[in-house]
Symmetry: C2
DNA sequence: CTGAAAGCGCTAACAA
DNA sequence: TTGTTAGCGCTTTCAG
């Protein structure tokens, strides 16, 4: 227990109110008094009690940050880079992050205790699902919130990379290389992002005049293991992949796919081309580096934070932002199809 | 603004105190009253105001978590896995995490505002430096704290992997493969972990009767770029590496080293063997998977949290724990030296 | 420019 | 078993 504001006030011969104002640089305090108080505070190493201050102010200066469930989070470097962007902006503005533990089956409870009065000033969420139930809870609670990833609900703030456009780019690039049998490993159905990337794939093929083939749409769940299994199964059963190129809906799945291909003796990109989505650091560590649709991951985090702060501090309306994506490392894990 | 405890009390025709007790399951409250109050609270969707409650209780139920500076954090997947372990345990016990932004030059300020009365109940820190100045600040502040990584100060709680032993294992394994020219890429000098891994390297060579060679100790900083440059420089200047095997003090550096080697046309492990340290997920994604000294990363996080909770809740003394490490993927990026 | 006083919403003696 | 009474440490009207 260290010194309190009351104590400082006593030692300065002024009231608590004056100390409070002086430390907040309120212009109504006489300069000399202010200097004096500040000096005394420094001398005693006074630090205001944030909790009490927040209680009086009716705010917490804490933002709740919801990441996907544990298994995804730990495996996906995307979220670390994202988190870094979020936290950088939040801290610049004096906010701290609260990372609650969430599991799929107690969403309602997590949300409501997170959004409980006074606990957090706002919430940022990731990976909206189609008709995400969290949205209802949050709107009811009245706590401002922003999603990383576009939602299909109106009146919800979000920031997202151009999922559909990115997928389109990837498929187009594979087509340019000469591929006509292009498979997609989709992400967990139910996630808006997975849906949009699939839509980009569809649109590209249609525009390019390539007939859609249901058997080239492979189920994945955004994890490396999922994609690994998806590819492995195909190679084991038929022996033939049926595709000369694979567009994986995220980098982790691209990595899993590549592993499965190599284990089966297939070379990347000589035998099969692979493109990922996200542009995580890890992709650069591979040999060769992963060809992928790069999202500005860190910037996504920053923008999410900004969007929330605008709601909190500037009382601006909700904002929906899409950031551009770009293809990187073209020709690294991509090449023309093997001629027969 | 939702309903308050006073309001619930009024509606139940009891005092705030009784409501408070009822909701805390205090046995002194008559069962019927308790049930009734709980029912009313539920009906109104009452959530206690955590901040106020904590103010009254003189605790925050928040733990400050200090990670290394931003550039390291973002690049090193180790910390995400670690963080997951920490947070899991903390949340099981009702604590939240606060991740402050830290930079090397405002450590004093960060620590003191973090440890300021009431803000956090305890702090967990990573990567102790030799004679770490944070320790002094923390001890002065009186806030309980635990380090991930052993310190050279007495009376400090910490949890660590067996750095020296792990390094010893790695070198021993390379020796078994027949290597005699074993280089080490060390971590940032000043970090206790870097020092201990180097010590293990020394001890192993000495025990194995291999003469120490200063020119086989390469400077690194625990980043991929640092190790990449370290290896690259060597290959460019002399052309000869001077080593048939490399022990990198962490996985990220092993990855950087491998990149530099491959760019120079050297194969891993046929031409040069590489062993890392940590056992991060990413290592498994490489082709071939990285041979490394695996630490129980998630468990390290859990133990750090437990050690702190013991101090907080059980008033147990400080605890120092070392967890075992093990070599994994032997023969993956390691092989006998090339015969000439 | 400064102070007094009234809370913020809850907990915890101490009484009853 | 319950209520009363003080706070927790700070901010913020409202007077002066």
């Amino acid at each position: 227990m260290r010194i309190s504001m009351a104590e400082i006030a006593r030692r300065c011969g002024v009231s608590k109110a004056t100390v409070s104002r002086a430390l907040a640089d309120d212009p109504r305090v006489k300069p000399e008094t202010k200097e004096f108080i500040k000096a005394v505070a420094k001398q005693f190493n006074y630090e205001p009690h944030v909790i009490a201050s927040n209680l009086a102010r009716r705010r917490s200066k804490i933002i709740g940050v919801m990441l996907p469930d544990a298994p995804r989070t730990i495996a996906d470097p995307f979220f670390l880079e994202y988190l870094n962007g979020v936290s950088a902006v939040l801290f610049e503005h004096g906010y701290s992050m609260l990372l609650p533990q969430v599991s799929r089956d107690n969403i309602a409870q997590t949300i409501s205790s997170l959004a409980a009065r006074g606990r957090v000033d706002g919430v940022v969420l990731t990976e909206p699902r189609i008709d995400d139930e969290r949205i209802v809870f949050l709107q009811k609670s009245g706590v401002p919130f922003v999603f990383l990833g576009c939602t299909n609900s109106k009146d919800v703030a979000w920031v997202d990379g151009d999922n559909e456009g990115g997928a389109y780019l990837a498929v187009q690039e594979l087509f340019r290389f000469g591929h006509r049998q292009i498979a997609i490993i989709i992400g967990e159905r139910g996630l808006v992002a997975a849906q949009n990337r699939l839509r980009g794939y569809h649109r590209a093929l249609t525009d390019l005049g390539v007939p859609l083939q249901e058997e080239l749409i492979w189920e994945g769940d955004f994890t490396r293991e999922g994609a690994y299994q998806a590819v492995r199964t195909r190679l084991q059963s038929g022996g033939e992949l049926g595709a000369s190129a694979i567009f994986a809906s995220n980098d982790l799945m691209a990595i899993g796919a590549i592993q499965a291909l190599r284990e089966a003796g297939l070379r990347v990109p000589e035998d099969v081309s692979v493109i990922g989505f996200d542009g995580v650091e890890v992709g650069k560590y591979l040999t060769p580096p992963l060809t992928t649709v790069q999202q500005p991951i860190n910037e996504l985090g920053r923008q999410v934070a900004f969007a929330l702060l605008e709601q909190l501090e500037k009382e601006m309306g909700i904002r929906q932002t899409t950031l551009p994506v770009q293809l990187v490392n073209v020709g690294s894990t991509t090449a023309p199809p093997k001629s027969r």
